[in-house]
């Protein structure tokens, strides 16, 4: 029998709609693929899934009734890892959860459960890193602007954190890699797409766009960063393990003077 290949639109609701389809048609041999990253199989039987919120919600409700709250958030976190093939692990995990009586999410000796737990852990780490490494710069129009390029799609996960924390300032966090951002207007957070001037360099703070005092505080922060280091304990290996080089370009303290 030819494996069915379900193609969804890349959203979480889309994925859940695909899962709904799997259960509805009692499919055994099936793959679920994101339309943007899908790989064409030679003899696959493709089916495009229409995202339907009602179906997605039904699946999600079912999942939640079977898993602990940690289990269901791990599932969502792992989905945001955008790893190729993660959908198949998620499906296997959900199938296992539905056939088990309860607590399937604690069975770390099941391959899919462990895989999802590990992916969720990586995504969780990236979320935490972004909460740490976002560096706001004050623009001329009084908006605190930050650009990021996270390994995983963590913007949906960090929204609440930043909204709660910076309730009294306008801010934008923009994911350059995925081309969308969050904008907080002192009231609520919305998802935005922005056009940047041609040749705009995200790693530079140019006086054309940024407030004058911005430069002073960046300088003070860099000075502080240097002064708080203890030279006789220098340990660059540890430093780089904590602050991997790929994040340096957006860290104010790591900019060349």
């Amino acid at each position: 029998m030819i494996a069915k290949n379900l193609i969804y639109d890349g959203t979480f609701d889309g994925f859940l709609s695909a899962v709904f389809y799997v259960f509805e048609h009692k499919l055994k041999q099936v793959r679920i693929q994101n339309e943007f990253t899908m790989q064409q199989g030679l003899f696959s039987d493709n089916e495009t899934i229409v995202t339907e919120e009602v179906k997605a919600n039904r699946v999600w409700k079912g999942v939640k009734s079977k898993l602990s709250s940690k289990g269901s958030y791990q599932l969502y976190y792992a989905f945001l890892s955008e790893q190729i093939g993660v959908e198949d692990f998620l499906l296997d995990y959900m199938r296992y959860a539905f056939e088990k009586k309860s607590n399937a999410d604690k069975d770390y000796s099941h391959p899919s459960v462990l895989k999802i737990a590990q992916l969720a852990k990586s995504v969780g780490r990236e979320k935490h890193r972004m909460e740490a490494f976002v560096r706001f710069r004050l623009t001329k129009d009084d908006i605190y602007f930050a650009s990021i390029e996270p390994d995983f799609n963590v913007l949906p996960l960090i929204e609440k954190h930043f909204k709660r924390r910076y309730a009294d300032q306008k801010w934008v966090i923009y994911d350059i890699k995925r081309g969308y951002g969050l904008f907080y207007d002192l009231d609520h957070v919305e998802i935005i797409n922005m056009d940047f001037p041609a040749g705009f360099d995200f790693t530079k703070t140019e006086s054309e766009f940024f407030a004058t005092q911005e430069f002073e505080f960046q300088k003070l922060w860099q000075d502080y960063f240097k002064a708080t280091n203890i030279e006789s304990r220098k340990n660059m290996k540890l430093h780089i393990r904590h602050v991997p080089k790929r994040y340096w370009k957006y860290l104010s303290e790591k900019q060349p003077n």
């Binding site: 604690k106 000075d223 304990r233 393990r241 303290e253």
Partner: protein, 433 residues
Amino acid sequence: MIQKILKKKEEKELSFQRTQEKLKILADAAKYDVSCSSSGSKRANTNKGLGDATGMGICHSYTEDGRCVSLLKILLTNYCIFDCAYCVTRKSNDIKRAAFKVQEVVDLTINFYRRNYIEGLFLSSGIFKSADYTMERLVAVAKKLRLEENFNGYIHLKSIPGASDELMREAGLYADRLSVNIEIPTEAGLKKLAPDKNREDFIKPMVKVKNEIIQYKAEKKIIKTTPKFAPAGQSTQMIIGASGENDFQIMQTSNHFYKNYNLKRVYYSGYVPISYDNRLPQIGSAVPMLRENRLYQTDWLMRFYGFDVSEILNQQHQNLDLDVDPKLSWALRNLHEFPVDVNTADKRMLARIPGLGMKSVYKILNARRFRRLNWEHLKKIGVALNRAQYFMVCDSNQFEKRDLTPEKIKGLILQNSNSKYQKTLSNQLSLFS
């Protein structure tokens, strides 16, 4: 008019340079305080103000020595009337001195916080004029941040030894954490290195804060709106390797403070030589980082792994092994407790297997409800089998059957592991070979 504007610009420039200079001096002087914790508070942003100190702490960056940068850690001033031998800001030391104004610290904190550089402020100070005079200024900064700036981020204030109870009470109302560093683990050591300080002065504010926290917790149960009092508790710090104490004495002191003053943390800070004073290790001698690491491991075993300090350090074992971690060292001395069957053992015993952290312990407890675990499962869960394999059995007939001596096991483990301290270790070992 133009001249006026120019003058104003010049003044601004000057004030920036002054702040810059002060920041360099006063951050440099504060860096020997190792605490940078920003977790454990429960200060939510409810007033639509700035900041939120709920949940876990965040390290926003790491210095090149690999330490977390979570708070703006500065001294209010490095002028000091005391002359403690181990301290860079001691009166007799010939260094540049500076002092922040209250408003300057407030501005720096707020502007760093708004850019997501920091979780909050850690403000300490040299003691100028008197303990109360100094404490009053520290409190003034915290008060201004809370009341005028609506700041809900994390504030850690240093309790100045000898400060009055009234000031300590006020400090606790605005700060999330208070700490007073005992610095030298024994009274004899303190007498030698800081003759003008006495232990009671350190203890007094600690007792006051402890009692206030107990009272706050009791009142909170009855009246929900009781204003918070130092919700992230108190901590202290000891310098390691400055005054000749052994590990047994250090951990005894640590245990004493955890038990009697309900401390959240005791920090251990390997002494960084900063002086030619002949009572102290000379400039150029190595910072005892490995020893510091072993002390932290012991601290963790005490607080999270159910060990009593006397099991690890006692009259017979006054110093921690440097080449193996304290849990392994304990296990080698107590081989009669092993091997442990991971499929049946209780949490307490699982936690005592070398190579198993508490995370693995919980994973094993959960996973073994579904099936009996074998080596493959344990490896995937993340157990450090190179150490653990000699101390456990699982669902497999392959386990260590030889009757190995502790020395033999230690040798096998060291052969198959890579320590980041290899270089330090091989130097130290060759001394005795």
